[in-house]
Amino acid sequence: MNETSDTPEAPVAASAGLSRRTVLKGAGATLGAAAFAVAASPLLPTREDHSFDEFIQNHYQELTDEQLAKVLKRLEQETLEEYGAEVTVRDHRPLAGVKFGYAISLSRCNGNAKCVEACHKENNHDRATNQSYIRVFELPKGTTNMDEGRVMYDHAVPAPDKYYMPVQCLQCDNPPCVDVCPVEATWKEKDGIVVVDYNWCIGCRYCEAACPYHARRFNWKKPEIPADEINPFQSYLSNRIRPQGVVEKCHFCLHRTREGKAPACMEACPTGARVFGNLLDPDSEIRFILENKRVFVLKEELGTQPSLYYFFDA
C-alpha cells in the first residue's frame, strides 16, 4: 500500500494515485448520473396513453379531414378518461358572408356580471380560479380613466355614481397578439374571430404581453371541473377543456354563433346591453347601432381596429 503522499493536490503522477483518481472519477460520474435521473424523475409519469399522438399532432390548418376526425375522437376519449364526462368535440368552420361584431351599451349595463358567470359555465373554465373571458369594470361616472376602475366589487348593483364596462377579447382586425405568436398557433378566421389552436400553442405567453386589453388567459395548471358541470357541446377551437400550459381567449362562442345562436354572454344578459350580429348584413341590429348611436372602441389610438364596440343608448 502506497499511502505516503496522496493528497488530492499532489500533481505527482504516481501510478497508484492515477488509478485511484480514475476510480474516484468513475464513482463521481455514476453518482452524478444517478442524481440526474432522480432530479429529472418528476418528468417521467406520462399523463395518458394519447401523449404520443398529441406530441406528433400537426397544426389545425394542416390536418386532413381524416386526421381531424381522429383528433376530435381522441379529445373526446381524453375528456372521458380524465374528467369522467361524455362530450362531443366538433369542428365549426366560419360561415360564408359573415363577419361578427359585438356592441355593448354602457347606458344599459348595470354590472350584474351575469355574462361573466355564463362565460365561465359555457366555456368549461377552471372552477378553482373562477376563470372567465369577461371582466366587468366599475368606474365612477365622469371619467373614462381605467385607473379609477375596479373589477372586484361586492355590493348591490348598480351602485350610485358608477357605471359599468364589460371587457373581453375585442377580436381586433389588426391583432397584435397574432403578429407576435412565433408558431402561428393563433390566427384570425374569415368571420373575424381570433382563435387559438390549444394543441399547437407552446405557452410562451408573448401574446399575453402583446394584447393591450388583457384579453388572454394562460392555463397555469390543468383546469378542474366536476364531470356533471362540464358543458358537453364542445368545439376544437372554442370551449373544449384546454390543456395545461397553453393560452386561451374569448372566441365569440363560435360553437354557438357559427350555428346561428347567440353567444352565451349575450343570452345571459338581463339588461339587453349586448348586441351581437353580422357586420356584413346591412339590416342587422349591430349595423343599425354602429350607424345611429354614439359608438367608441377601446384604445382606438393603437390602431388595433376592434370588432367590439361600446355605445350609449340615451
Binding site: A39, V180, E208
Partner: protein, 425 residues
Amino acid sequence: MTKATSTLEASKAMSESHRIGYPKFLFRSLSEATDGSFSFYAWMTALTAVALVGLNAWAHQVADGMILTHMTDHVSWGLYIANFTFGVGLAAGGVMMVIPAYLYRHKGMHDVVIVGELLAIAAIIMCLLFVVADLGRPDRFWHLIPVIGRFHFPISMLTWDVLVLNGYLLLNLHICGYLLYQRFLGREPNRRWYVPFVLLSVVWAISIHTVTAFLYSGLGGRPFWNSGLLAPRFLASAFVSGPAFIIVTLLILRRITGSRVGEGAVSLLVKIVRVTVLVNLLMFVSELFTEFYTGGAHAASAEYLFFGLHGKTGLVPWTWTSVALNLISAAVFLCPRIDRRTRLLAFGCACAFVGIWIEKGMGLIIPGFIPSTLHQIVEYSPSLLEWKVTAGIWAFALLVYTVALKIAARVLSGEMTIGGTQARA
C-alpha cells in the same frame, strides 16, 4: 495531371488525419474537462449540484404546471425572461473584445479574445435554457423549428430572436472550435476559415441585443417598453456588463495561472467601460426625464418602479439598489489607474454586473406589466421554485464556461496538442 493527383492525395491524407485528429481532440478535451485540482473538483461538484436542484424544480414545473411560479395573467413574464434578457446582453458584450482584437489588431486583446467568444457561447446556452424554462409546453418545442414546425417569420420578432441567438451560438462555436482545433494540431489557422466569421460575429452580436429589445419595444400596448431608446440602451448596458464579467474572468485566470495573462486586455476593457458606463447612465437619465416630466398614464410604470404606485412598492428596493450599484461602478471605473488596483476593479465590476442584472432584468420586465394594460396593479415576486430553476441555469452556464476556458487555456498554452498532453509545469 500529376499535380492534380498529388493535391487529391494530400487532401485525402488531410481528411484521413482529421478522422483521427478530431476524435482525439474531443477525447482530450473531455479528459481535460474532468480532470483538475481539488478546488476544480469542488467548484464543478458545487455547480453540478445547483444545476441538478434547478433541473428538479423545472421537472416539477413541467409536471404540475406553471402555477408553481408566481407569475399571473397580469404579470405573465417574470424572473426567467428577466434573466434571459440580461443574458443576451452578456453574450453581446463579448464583442467588445472582438472589435479591438480583429478590427484594430490590438495585440494584448488578440491573445485573450477567446475568453469573450467562449463567454458568448455560455451566455447564449443560458439564454436558450431560460426560454425553455419559460415555456408552458416545452414538449412542443419542435413547433418552433423552421420547416418541420410553423415558423412565423418574419412577422413575429420572437422568430427573429430564435434565428439570431442560434446563429450567434453557431458562429462562436465555429470560431472557437476551429482555432482551438488548429492549435491542437499544431497548425497555423487559415484566415479564410475564421476571419470572415469573426467579422460577421461583430455585426451579429449587435443584432442579438437589438432584436431582443425589439421583442419588447414593438408592443404598442406596453408604454414602458414602447420606446425607440430601448435597443440602444440594451447595447450600452451590455457593453458594461459583458466587459465587467470578462475583466473578472481575466483577473481570476491571472490568479490561477500565476501569470500576467490579459494585462493589456484588462486595461483596454477598462477604457471601454469608462465610456459605456457613462453612455448607459446618460440614456437612463434621458428616459427618466421624458417619463417624469411628461407624467400621466405613460409614466405609471416608471412611477411604480421608482416610488411605488397606490401603495404597492414591490420593485422599489430592487430599483434603488440597481441605481446605487450603477453609480458606484461608474465612480470606480473613473478612478485613475483603476486597472492596476485589482481589488477595487473587481468590486467595481461586481457592482456593474449586479446593477445591470437588476436594471435589464426585473427592472425592465416587471414594470412592463405593472400597471397592467387595463390599469390594474398586481405585483410579482418570484417563487422559490423560480429561484431554484434560475440558479440551476446559471450554474450550468458557469459549468460550460469553466470547462471551455480550461480546455482553451491548455490548448493555447501549447500544453494540449495532438502529440500528447504535457504535465503541468
